[in-house]
Symmetry: C2
Subunit: 370 residues, 2 copies
């Protein structure tokens, strides 16, 4: 079905190539009876202009509908005030939140966001050319990475790179992550303390440092208690894959009684399979723990125990790190690790240990870990 109104042809400004004509500083200058420089200065905070002149200019600008041309400005200042943002995928439920907070943070500092997406299982090299052509002031990679060569290129071009939720070995990139390793470890402790015996890990993308660290921490924590053998399944951050992976786990001879999934997204899928395909009770038959603490984890239907991904402080840190580098014109290699905590809910059996109520969220605080 299609309801079409009339087509209104745009007034042509001249020779076809110069179709539309935006108001320029020159025109404003003429109207205000000043020079083009004065107009420029009137729009530059802190520039040397008499208050009276600025008024005249702003008035003329308002009348003509003038707006400075950011592209032309970029050409001179060599600053686009644009940050290239690459998001691997958006179906992880934390990303709406990340994106919104990021947009707000950049916006507030006068920066815009050029967004690219769709690089879940490979790095962001494919869009690199495009991004760099727009002379972004910085590059933020969320849940994705860049090849070493391109990272070098960025550094050479003076474009700071900040990774979000991913670590990298590259000496000229910065990163902001949650304490994945510790999170995995703490979950292991929690599950062991809960009296579980057969553990399984549901993995995210293999190339993801975040996934590796979470798993490493988990295994490390279990090993402390002499548990070396655990189930492993590839959820791959995809619902469909996780579904299959979960079936494999529960259909095994010795199905796990405690599952840690590398992201809430996958954890919820595991829970669905456990309950509705295998008729398992959560947490009586199987405990399920996730990581990220997405909004849905709090829904009564799920009540998912999950390690918090501290989105707000992480985004803040990322923006800070970016601004710091842009303003100082230097490429840094700082790695910020933001601590999280285990939000204890109903999807995993409770251990005997102390569970505290902090700001309405239940926290498990075994002696000395915090």
């Amino acid at each position: 079905m299609s309801v079409d109104g009339g087509g209104v042809p745009r007034p042509e400004g001249g020779l076809g190539t110069t179709a539309r004509h935006a108001v320029t500083a020159e025109e404003v200058a003429r109207r205000a009876g000043v020079s083009q420089s004065a107009v420029s200065r009137a729009f530059t905070p802190g520039a040397s202009v008499a208050a009276k002149t600025r008024e005249k200019v702003l008035a003329a600008a308002r009348e003509l509908g003038y707006r400075p041309n950011a592209m032309a400005r970029t050409l001179i200042t060599n600053r686009s005030r644009i940050i290239g943002v690459v998001m691997a995928y958006l179906d992880n439920m934390i990303y709406p939140d990340v994106l919104e907070k990021l947009a707000a943070g950049l916006q507030q500092r006068g920066y815009q966001m050029l967004l690219f997406t769709g690089f879940k299982d490979r790095n962001s090299d494919p869009v690199f050319e495009q991004i760099m052509q727009y002379r972004v002031d910085g590059l933020l990679l969320a849940s994705t990475t860049l090849s070493s060569d391109l990272s070098d290129e960025c550094a050479a071009a003076g474009v700071p790179v900040v990774m979000f939720n991913r670590m990298t070995e590259h000496p000229l990139c910065s990163s902001v992550t949650s304490d994945n390793r510790n999170g995995g470890r703490q979950i292991a402790e929690f599950l062991v303390a809960g009296g579980h015996r057969r553990f399984a890990y549901v993995a995210g993308a293999a190339i993801s440092s975040t996934n590796r660290d979470r798993e490493a921490g988990f295994r490390e924590g279990l090993l402390r208690h002499g548990i070396g053998q655990i189930g492993h399944a590839e959820g791959n951050l995809e619902l469909a894959d996780t579904w299959v992976a979960a079936r494999d786990l529960f259909a095994a001879d010795e199905p796990p009684d405690a599952v840690f999934a590398g992201s809430d997204h996958m954890a919820l899928a595991v829970m669905e399979v456990a309950r509705h395909e295998f008729g398992l009770r959560v947490p009586e038959d199987v405990s399920i723990v996730g990581y990220d603490d997405v909004g849905a984890a709090r829904w009564p239907s799920f009540s998912l125990t999950s390690f918090t991904l501290p989105v707000a402080p992480m985004v803040d840190a990322a923006v800070e790190l970016m601004m710091e580098q842009i303003e100082s014109s230097s490429i840094l290699s700082h790695h910020r690790v933001v601590p999280g905590r285990l939000a204890v809910r109903g999807s995993a059996r409770l251990p005997g240990g102390p569970v505290l109520d902090r700001d309405g969220t239940l926290i498990w605080a075994p002696g000395g870990t915090e």
Copy 2:
């Protein structure tokens, strides 16, 4: 916790203001032994260059790491190849999908996306200035609108405006929506056919045309069967608000036995409250129907009956509409309405009528509506 690597100062290029220096066409030209125009032509598809020259240029460019400056190009061509995208909010679960498909569609046509977000309960005027300074080739508004004045300004500037999932009265804006009205009507028919008596509508944002149309269709459908009085609650697209709204509904003297929520997001919240706060069985005690057919609607825990928001065709239509206007340099006012269908699942009592299985999805097809 914070682990910091070393800070590597960026090599300064000269007088402080010219901190970093990107390779220019001029330099490539010198290296290749041609003129700057030749370089420009080598990078312009369809330009008049000998194959041999192009090779030389591309080789030199590769050696120097040259990348055309999109900003400078924009200044001349008057085309930024950037689309300004404003998304009202991202917590509606369809938006990750929309954003990804949109990015892909634009990317494929050589366009980039300048993203703005966070305008759920007001229009997008606040960021308008910023967007226009970057001389975007088009403006796409997802679940948000623009004041009439600014719409005029866009038209005057030759910037086409396309609304996604919102209609507008403005004569110089285009829009792509699903058939909200028909959807609401069909849901009414479905619920009436299912033998329900007491109906309620959970509303989204009051300023949203989408919300109004869905409600209008719903009421219209009910009225056909003589039902004029229905419950009404404001979910406001917010989980917290929906939670409260749902409590009000179910705590009433005559609680509804059929609830239509203006979005799946809200429908799921209603279901949570019904089940876990009021102990109601779905659909035995109350039927719940949503709109959008988000991924989670398919999860066994919810099995939400929902009217489909056809994201893929809608995004395609939006991109088409945008490109058409950009390429023809004319502002159109086309309103595309993309049909959806009722995906029948378990959250609402089934009527006696025909429920067909189409492509694995159950569709309710009352005589002659399709």
